[in-house]
């Protein structure tokens, strides 16, 4: 599988190298970014357009239900990536949000099939258009109590107060169990899909560190009461009531009382 993908990449890269995509500007000089440029042509070009300028008019609507991540020639629409910087590229690639399965869907966390080197190349290419660098959150310097307060004000409405994920009409704010500190910091600054976007003025880096610290805490929150039931409260508690406690009590009753046909 990986071999096939790699070959496809190489072929694609070869095609692009000779092809028409780099009309406005050629591949960057730096070797890593140049490799990224080829990868971009392979995976991103069809939606984000040449030179990461974005595509707005949807020429082909072949957004099939098949394994869209492998469909390379599908033309779609996508935002411009100029100026989003290494920060956004790193986030979308390392979470597996991109490449998208089909246009219009909410990006979700998926297995990443690009190698670390490939991701770094693509990030370097996108970063060559300018934009913020990859953030370096320092959760250890944050304050977990401040973090809970900020998280409640800015994040809990969608992500649930213990970051177990939630619902907004039309979208699914994910649980943050698998989000690394860096990804949390990146997402806050980007606002992927329908998430709000928090600038430095809205949340300072220091405040962000506290939020990240709190998110780290929610991955293994204090659980003095035993089995945590996903830290969601009543729904799983109701399931335990009806599927564990009540059956146990009924068994007790069956032990003690007679059945009608026995």
């Amino acid at each position: 599988m990986r071999a096939v993908v790699t070959i496809a990449i190489l072929v694609g890269a070869g095609l692009l190298g000779t092809g028409s995509a780099g009309a406005a500007s050629g591949p960057p000089r730096k070797p890593l970014a140049a490799y990224g440029y080829h990868l971009y042509g392979e995976y991103c070009l069809s939606c984000h357009g040449a030179n990461a300028a974005g595509r707005m008019n949807q020429t082909s609507t072949s957004s099939g239900s098949g394994p869209g991540r492998e469909q390379k020639q599908q033309n779609g629409i996508g935002p411009s990536l100029q100026g989003v910087g290494a920060l956004a590229a790193d986030f979308y690639l390392r979470t597996g949000y991109m490449p998208l399965r089909h246009i219009g869907m909410q990006p979700r966390r998926e297995p990443v099939f690009l190698s670390n080197h490939q991701i770094r190349a693509l990030v370097a290419y996108i970063a060559s258009f300018g934009g913020p660098p990859i953030p370096k959150p320092q959760p250890q310097t944050g304050d977990v109590s401040k973090g809970l307060e900020l998280f409640t004000e800015h994040c809990a409405g969608c992500h649930q107060v213990v970051a177990q994920g939630g619902v907004v009409t039309g979208a699914l704010p994910p649980a943050l169990v698998n989000a690394t500190p860096r990804q949390v910091a990146e997402a806050v600054r980007i606002g992927p899909y329908v998430m709000p976007k928090f600038s430095q003025r809205d949340l300072t880096d220091r405040q962000l560190d506290s939020i990240v610290r709190y998110v780290e805490f929610t991955k293994n929150p204090s659980r003095p009461g035993g089995w945590g039931l996903g830290y969601l409260g009543p729904v799983p508690e109701g399931l335990v009531t009806w599927f564990i406690a009540i059956p146990a009590l009924i068994v007790l009753c069956l032990l003690l009382g007679r059945r009608l046909r026995s």
Partner: protein, 335 residues
């Protein structure tokens, strides 16, 4: 070890022996029918009782050791729970194996007692023969009882301001009052960026006043060309900055969800959503309901940018804040 075993055996012998000695002689007069012994069950019951008390002792030990052991609550619960379950099992064994559980037949109580009914009715009727105006008497009794009941209930009216419903229209917002964040820092119009939402309060409110339903706002900014405010809300925004009440008009929860699409063409439109019942409001059209159970638009506070760039309230909300009551649409919020 052997001494312990001897002790147990002798205790058993003593117990069983005593039971045998106490057996009544004349079997035919027994109320509870005799049944053969069940040594295995008896021993099991004793073992379970022993287990139960050792679990109970374990509970006390865990409690005494307290914080020095991890997962204290689990050990406490397990010890106490097991102690109780062992005791329960012992009791169940006693019930099923050791005591006679024969079924006995008996008559149901009679459906009714006509004779007694008659007697009661007679006593009541005959006691009242001296009343010549019994209907008036009954009426009077009813009146006294009823009014006394009301009198006793009357002080309960002081529980709360039963009739002071004007409060529902009060808000802390006045023309010129600045919007501040949670720490009390005033918002500048330039602080409000698109694709984000902000919690705002009126300037100079105490922590307690912040809890009032009409105090808190959710402030957002939309591109001015996307605004489609209805005519009566024209001018409520400050260059696209909109200050909505933070309290859902359905069931009063705080609106802490802002759907802010990053890439408009293929993502859902901007919306303010309440996490309790997912009422969804469209901020561009003046807070109209697009999904969910809310029956009334989200109230909008008119704001303007002052000369120093700070955000200030221009007046009051376009409708009452918070969950609805009957007649809510007749009123406007008042300063």
């Amino acid at each position: 070890m052997t001494r312990l075993r001897n002790a147990i055996i002798s205790a058993l012998v003593l117990l069983l022996g005593r039971a045998r000695r106490r057996r009544p002689r004349r079997e035919e007069t027994r109320i509870v029918p005799p049944q053969p012994g069940h040594l295995a069950a008896e021993l099991a019951v004793l073992a379970l009782l022993g287990l139960s008390s050792s679990c109970a002792i374990a509970f006390i030990l865990v409690y005494a050791l307290g914080d020095s052991i991890p997962n204290e609550t689990q050990f406490l619960g397990a010890a106490l729970g097991l102690a109780l379950l062992c005791l329960a099992t012992a009791l169940i064994l006693v019930g099923l194996k050791l005591v006679p559980s024969e079924e006995v037949a008996e008559e149901y109580p009679p459906h009714e007692h006509p004779h007694e009914q008659q007697l009661i009715a007679e006593v009541i009727d005959e006691s009242g023969t001296r009343f010549t105006r019994s209907r008036f008497f009954k009426l009077g009794l009813l009146g006294a009882g009823g009014t006394l009941g009301l009198a006793i209930l009357a002080p309960a009216v002081s529980f709360g301001p039963l009739f002071r419903v004007g409060d529902f229209l009060q808000t802390p917002w006045r023309r010129g009052r600045r919007l501040v964040d949670e720490t009390g820092k005033p918002y500048k119009a330039s602080d409000i960026s698109e694709k984000n939402f902000y919690l705002a309060f009126p300037e100079g409110t105490s922590d307690e006043e912040k809890e009032q339903m009409a105090a808190s706002l959710v402030v957002i900014r939309l591109p001015q060309k996307e605004l489609r405010l209805p005519s009566h809300l024209k001018g409520y925004d400050a260059n696209g900055i909109l200050a909505y009440s933070r309290i859902c008009t359905h069931a009063g929860c705080a609106i802490t969800l802002y759907r802010a699409p990053l890439f408009q063409p293929d993502e859902p439109r901007p919306a303010l959503v309440c996490p309790c019942h997912y009422s969804t409001f469209d901020p561009a059209t003046g807070g109209t309901v697009t999904f969910g159970p809310a029956g009334r638009d989200l109230p909008l506070l008119p704001v303007y940018k002052d000369s120093k760039g700070y955000l200030r309230a221009k007046g009051n909300f376009d409708g009452p804040v918070g969950p609805s009551w009957w007649g809510v649409r007749l009123w406007k919020a008042q300063p």
